[in-house]
């Protein structure tokens, strides 16, 4: 894992001191809220429905046990004993007091964490594959490249006031586990003729105008990665719209110019930048790579003992192939039946820290699906791991099944929401646990957002749910056919919305259409793509 050098630490410490002073002045009444708001947002401190909310960055979703333990301590000491893991692989605390904010940031800085650039019109935390460095199908570990870009984008003076927020994702496999093409820039590390390079997909996003990023360059040599990124950002910073917040994301620029014209401008800027010395020396990349070396993983040669049937079910759903023989990556579910997706208590976080240290070379990952990964687990240790997870309520065997719902905080916490998301997720998971259809349905990704901002990825759900406000009451639109994987697609609305109870029935109706229509081996998404919307509409509305 990356470890801060003296520059990283000095920058973060200086920021804590600066913010402490700003908070003190606000508390003393020397700053107005108008003056203070941009300052607190630069440190991830939002004001939400019930309190201040702090969003802490987890770079490319990777953290160690010590860091997880500090996240637990913060939840207990300054919040109400829990935190919420988000689709951008970060954590949010919902009950923060302004008086404590600087102390929290100081605690985070001690374990090389912060909340910088988790808000505002800057380059946000860079996301990545949660199986990075472990997956059998990757051509390289994407994290050193994500880390290089993290350093480049941290406090980048030219890009600290972009037209709008900017989200970058880096992956390194054909299979996309990070919604790469739904980011402002999606980078895929690929191998060509024995050499590594980067594909650039630019102009994707969700929100009110969802778009799938087009490929604008299919091979950028890795010693030009930063320069090419700079060119992409520069064209956006210059021409991205600033007159209308809703048209300010790069996806709108790419769409309005056309991918071809945007690419032409990027290439022109790139040619100009190439001799400007923007690119850090390759030695820097090599230095960073040194931090991401594989742990020493001797093949224990043992398979997991499948004799306990409950364990076997968990093994089938919640483990993922590892590049080293004798190992797997284990998915820890934060989606117990009827639970709040992505919430973890301080006690659970501590269990995760312990288990990471004991079984996974002190590494943890946060998934965009709001679960947690222990990336390098010996198969021989899986049974003990599963038992420990079960004891802590984190052993639900539902990865990528109906119960593994993504849900944003919605109207229970979020000041922008139209409707609540969490209770819908709870009811659906309870319904499908009770009717026993979850296993038969197989892979089915359900994603819920409480408003059009799409923090819950509803556009990318096999089934998506969007909360809307209908004359002051909560109403829910149903969407079908989205995917955030390598076969990225955007879901379509079925028709008129449903009320709070109706939407749960509607999801079951859609699931039943699939069970009736599917052919051998088809997932829900495949059946939808084959038969189209009509049979679903008929069942839902007739």
């Amino acid at each position: 894992m990356y470890a801060y050098d003296q520059y990283d630490q000095a920058m973060v410490d200086a920021r804590v001191a600066e913010f402490r002073d700003q908070c003190e002045r606000r508390l003393a009444g020397k700053l107005s809220e108008d003056q203070f708001k941009p300052l607190r947002l630069m440190n991830g401190l939002y004001l939400q429905l019930h309190a201040y909310m702090l969003r802490v960055a987890i770079p490319y979703g990777t953290l160690n046990g010590g860091q997880m333990r500090v996240l637990a301590d913060i939840a207990e000491k300054y919040d109400r004993g829990y935190g919420h893991f988000t689709t951008r692989q970060n954590i949010q605390y919902n009950w923060i007091k302004l008086e404590d904010a600087a102390d929290i940031l100081a605690d985070l800085a001690k374990v090389e964490m912060h909340a910088i650039q988790t808000s505002g019109n800057c380059i946000r935390n860079i996301s990545s594959d949660h199986f990075a460095g472990a997956a059998a199908d990757e051509v390289a570990d994407p994290r050193p490249y994500a880390e290089l870009l993290r350093q480049w984008s941290s406090f980048h003076p030219e890009f600290s006031y972009l037209p709008r927020k900017f989200k970058i994702c880096v992956i390194a496999s054909e299979n996309d586990r990070a919604a790469m093409r739904l980011h402002d820039i999606g980078i895929r590390i690929v191998e060509r003729d024995g050499e590594l390079g980067a594909q650039f997909y630019v102009g994707g996003g969700m929100g009110r105008t969802p778009m799938i990023a087009p490929l604008i360059r299919d091979f950028v040599p890795l010693d030009q990665l930063v320069t090419y990124s700079e060119a992409c950002l520069r064209v956006y910073n210059r021409y991205g719209r600033r007159d209308n917040k809703y048209k300010a994301r790069i996806k709108i620029l790419v769409h309005e110019l056309g991918a071809e014209e945007y690419t032409r401008q990027v290439e022109e800027e790139f040619a100009h930048l190439l001799d400007q010395g923007v690119e850090p020396p390759l030695a820097e990349l090599e230095r960073i790579k040194g931090y991401f070396r594989d742990p020493d993983m001797p093949d224990a040669g043992q398979e997991a003992d499948r004799s306990d049937p409950d364990f076997a079910v968990w093994l089938d759903h919640n483990t993922h192939a590892h590049k080293m023989p004798g190992y797997v990556s284990a998915i820890v579910s934060l989606k117990p039946v009827g639970g709040i997706p992505g919430d973890a208590t301080a006690a659970q976080m501590r269990v995760l820290a312990d288990l990471a240290e004991r079984y996974s070379f002190d590494e943890l990952r946060i998934m965009h699906t709001q679960n947690v990964v222990l990336p390098h687990v010996r198969k021989a240790d899986l049974y003990a791991l599963w038992q420990a997870l079960n004891e802590a309520g984190m052993g639900t065997p539902n990865a990528d099944l109906m119960g593994d719902i993504i849900a944003c905080p919605g109207l229970d916490y979020c000041s922008l929401a139209n409707a609540r998301s969490i209770p819908i997720a709870q009811r659906i998971s309870q319904r499908f646990a009770a009717n026993g259809k979850e296993a038969a349905l197989g892979e089915l990704k359900l994603k819920i957002s409480g408003c059009i901002n799409a923090c819950g990825h509803h556009h990318a759900g096999h089934i998506g749910i969007l909360g809307v406000d209908r004359k002051g009451t909560e109403n829910y639109q149903l969407l079908l056919g989205g995917s955030e994987a390598e076969d990225t697609s955007l879901a379509k609305i079925t028709g008129p919305g449903f009320d709070e109870l109706g939407i749960v029935d509607a999801v079951e109706t859609a699931a039943d259409v699939y069970l009736r229509e599917r052919t051998e081996g088809e997932r829900f998404l495949d059946t939808y793509r084959r038969i189209g919307m009509a049979p679903f509409k008929e069942a839902l509305y007739d």
Partner: protein
């Protein structure tokens, strides 16, 4: 009726104008009537509550003010999915009343 609400500067807690100060309990909220906007502006300048604003409400069945919009009713209670963390942890029907 018109209520004034905002979030406490120090704690961020939802707070309601009582006529001569602020309370976290909506039961204490006062109808600020035609004065509402002026009070909100004055209180903003006092810098103890973040961005106070005026909302519509009516008298609810239990006599306490009931905001017209669901968002404000959620604010008045707390998260409906964690009644244990709301202002009415012992009332199992509290979340239902918000809807």
């Amino acid at each position: 009726m018109k209520l004034i609400t905002g979030n406490d500067l120090k704690t961020g807690a939802v707070t309601w104008w009582t006529g001569d100060g602020w309370s976290i309990h909506i039961e204490d909220a006062a109808d600020a009537g035609d004065e509402a906007e002026a009070i909100a502006t004055r209180e903003e300048a006092a810098r103890r509550v973040n961005v106070p604003y005026v909302i519509e409400a009516e008298a609810g069945p239990d006599g306490a003010p009931r905001p017209a919009h669901i968002k404000e009713r959620v604010r008045a209670l707390g998260p409906t999915v964690r009644v244990d963390l709301t202002l009415k942890p012992d009332d199992p029907t509290a979340a239902q009343k918000v809807i």
